[in-house]
Structures are given as structure tokens and as C-alpha cells.
Subunit: 222 residues, 2 copies
DNA sequence: GGTTTTTTTAAGCCAATTTTAAGTTTCAGC
DNA sequence: GCTGAAACTTAAAATTGGCTTAAAAAAACC
């Protein structure tokens, strides 16, 4: 589990880093908002801890920017404030939890575990490269832009991505996506592959679906 | 919003059910741990309230079992204890919040609202663009003008806004807003979407609710 | 108990999606 | 390079599903 801590006070940052590393987390530290945001955007973390009051860019703004990029990484705030108003303000900016300073390390740890648990199990999205598919909401994203698909288009793409790196034969596709179990000489698959390719291309995600002539199709990560 | 209460004292259970239904939640009650766990596993709730001390299976064990199944539903504990030790124990078991008995109904309500807010998605407040929803007073404002909604209209709009930027499927809507859990070919949703759109349009807030054909609806900020 | 408001049902219409079908292009093997 | 099979593209037909309206049923209010 990889964590990012954005905290300017070296004392607190060091205390957190050491304590969390003892718990076998991989911990990065950033000492201001700008550098923290930089880290968050260029690396993949399992959780981010942000102090409310940090230099250059405020904690709340960092949080907002991270959410704006489409990331759903769990974010926890460290704050000296704990009026209901401030808490709500933080939650609105996209935070998942907050903890008031001074805090017991034990409590922080327990709350981190709650967040990690809930995030990991809640995220059942499928991926292929920068393409993200969420079967729960029927949404597809390429990087940060959403691709709107019809139900059949979605079902086909979902099947291909679930079986990425594997060749999907035409007969398997027609069975799994169309639920047709007898031989038929339909060309729906061709048509829908065309639809999908067009929409993916338009979103900047060209060349994802490759043809295996005489057999079927395949999606490769690279 | 659909809640489950697991509480063996009929007095408290009834008091909670009535009070929460007055606030337009859909409320189910279970009177022991076993039946509560059963409900939790076979239905989808937005939040679960569990008493620490209940018969057959303890509250803490019910909580653990729910988490073990992979569910991330917010769980709140009712408890007579509130030492740090007990709180940590509850958090470890997978709870999101706890409230000490005896409690004020108002406080419970506020905590429920915080959980619902923070859970559904990071940047979720009950706002969508210039639309403002107040679950406490059941009022809706667009900019400065109030929009008068019936209870069902309000519940539907609230559910959509709580899940803004996410697709709300027809089956989820019928479960969480109408509390209907079997397949039915009703068209109430369509009708209420029409009602809402008409009232929103009339207030100058057109185009808020978008249709995802074959799937459901979504509210987007922009 | 009657009146008003809210909720649900049902039916016709329209638009988006899905399928069919036909013409065009690409590719592998000769 | 030729040839035939497979895949691609396009347009039009068929189907499905959502929107709207009106009226019936249920609930809330006096």
C-alpha cells in the first residue's frame, strides 16, 4: 500500500512517515501543496493524507484538483479545526475523512484502514491502458473524458476488456454479448466493432481493438 | 435513501423508524443480529444502524460479517460505551461512526447525513450547479427561487443529486426511492422524471437530468 | 365524509438503438 | 498481381425503450 503525505511541518511529517513505514506502508512525503499535487498526479497512491494548512497551494485546493482529474483515491485531512462547518467544507471538496490535530496515531491508523478497505472493495472497475470501465454505472472513461456508449456497445467493450490479452472469437462474442447460441450469419459484430472503434478513436483512444483475421478480436494493454 | 436498523428494543426501534420515515427515508428494521445480517446481505442499503448489544449475533460481529462480504455501506453503531478503546474496536470491525446512548434524535440525523454525504462520492454535497437541496427542511432552491416538490419528487431528486456524475440505473432508483425489490414493469420513474424536469425547467434549471438510454439517468454539474 | 393533492397505471407517439442487408475494401495464399 | 474469403462501412428497416398525457387510485387534509 502506497501513501502520500502532504505536510509542511517536518516534525509531524517525519513522525507519520516513520510510524506508517513501521506498519509496512510505502510512504512519500511532500512539503507543500504544489509539490504534493505534482506527486499525486504523476504517481498512483492508495491513499493521500493532506494537512489543511500548507504553503503554496492550500490543502483544500489540492484535494479539489485531484478530484477534478477524475481520481477516486481516498483522501484524509489533518486539521486543527473541527467545527461542523469546516468538516462539511472538506468533505465537499472531495475528502473521505478528516482527523483533528492532535490525534492518537492509533486512531489515524484505524481510519486509514477503514478507507483502504472501503476503497479497494468498492472499486470494481475494469481497465485497459488508460481506458476505465465501470460496470456498476455503465460508464467508460478514457483518461479524464467520458465516452458515451449504448447498452450493446458497452456490453461488447466490457467483454473484450474483461478478456484483454486473450483472443475473443466471434462465436464466443456472439454467445456472451448477444446470447445467441446457434450458428448464424449475422454481421452485427462487425457493425458494433465499427461503432466502438469510431467512438474510441474520437476520444483519442485509437487502435485499441485489434482484428485477428479468421478468428476474432483482441484488446492489448500496450 | 434506504436504511436498515438492527435493534432489539422495540421502543427504540419504533422511535427511530417513525422519526426517520418522517424524514422520507425508506426504513427496514431487524430485531436481532441474525435477521439483521440476513437483511443486509440480501438488500442494498444506503446506511445501516446497528446496536452494539443485540441478541443471537452481536452488533460487532454483524458489522464484521457485512464487511467480510465486501460491502462498503456506511455503518453506524449505537452504544452505551464510548471509551477510546471501544471506539477503535468498532472502527476496526468496519464501522464508520458511532453514537452514544442516550442520544438526541437531531444529532443522529446530522450524523446520518454526514455519512450519506461523505460516502456516496468524494465531492458530493447536495448541490448540483446552482441547484441547492436541503434534506433537513426538504426544500429545493435554484439560485434564489424555491422549487416546491412533492415527497416522491423530492426523494427522487435527492437520490439523483447524491449520486451526481454517476449513472443511476432504473433498478437502483426503484429500490432506493420506491423501496420496490422485485422486477416490475411500472413506468413511475418515467412519469416522475417528467414531473421533475417540468418543475426544474419552469424554475430556469433545464437540462439537469440527462437520460442514459437503456440504463437510467444522470445529473452532471456542467 | 368530501375535497384536494399525490401517486400510480395505461396507452399512443416519437426517437434512439439494434439489426439486416448490400456494397466496398483488405488480406492471405496462390 | 489475381482471387476469394473475411472484414469493414454505410444506409435503411425493424425494434425497443423513453416521453408525454390523461385518467384512475390512493393518501392526506380539512
Amino acid at each position: 500500500m502506497r501513501l502520500l503525505i502532504i505536510e509542511d511541518e517536518p516534525g509531524i511529517a517525519g513522525f507519520l512517515k516513520d510510524g506508517l513505514e513501521e506498519e509496512y506502508f510505502a510512504v512519500d512525503v511532500a512539503y507543500d501543496g504544489k509539490s504534493g499535487l505534482d506527486h499525486a498526479m504523476t504517481n498512483e497512491y492508495d491513499l493521500i493524507i493532506i494537512d489543511w494548512m500548507i504553503p503554496v497551494i492550500s490543502g483544500i485546493e489540492v484535494c479539489r484538483q485531484i478530484r477534478k482529474s477524475g481520481s477516486v483515491v481516498p483522501i484524509m485531512f489533518l486539521t486543527a479545526k473541527d467545527t461542523l462547518e469546516d468538516v462539511l467544507f472538506g468533505l465537499e471538496a472531495g475528502a473521505n475523512d478528516y482527523i483533528k490535530k492532535p490525534f492518537a496515531f492509533e486512531e489515524l491508523l484505524a481510519r486509514i484502514r477503514v478507507q483502504l478497505r472501503s476503497k479497494h472493495q468498492g472499486d470494481d472497475s475494469l481497465r485497459a491502458g488508460h481506458l476505465n470501465i465501470n460496470p456498476g454505472t455503465h460508464q467508460v472513461f478514457y483518461e479524464t473524458s467520458e465516452i458515451t456508449l449504448t447498452p450493446k456497445e458497452f456490453a461488447l467493450l466490457e467483454y473484450l476488456v474483461r478478456n484483454k490479452e486473450k483472443v475473443c472469437t466471434r462465436s464466443r462474442i456472439i454467445e456472451h454479448v448477444w446470447d445467441i447460441h446457434f450458428d448464424s450469419d449475422t454481421s452485427v459484430i462487425d457493425v458494433y466493432i465499427t461503432f466502438l472503434r469510431r467512438k474510441l478513436e474520437h476520444a483519442g483512444c485509437g487502435n485499441l481493438i485489434q482484428t485477428i483475421r479468421g478468428v476474432g478480436y483482441i484488446i492489448r494493454e500496450s
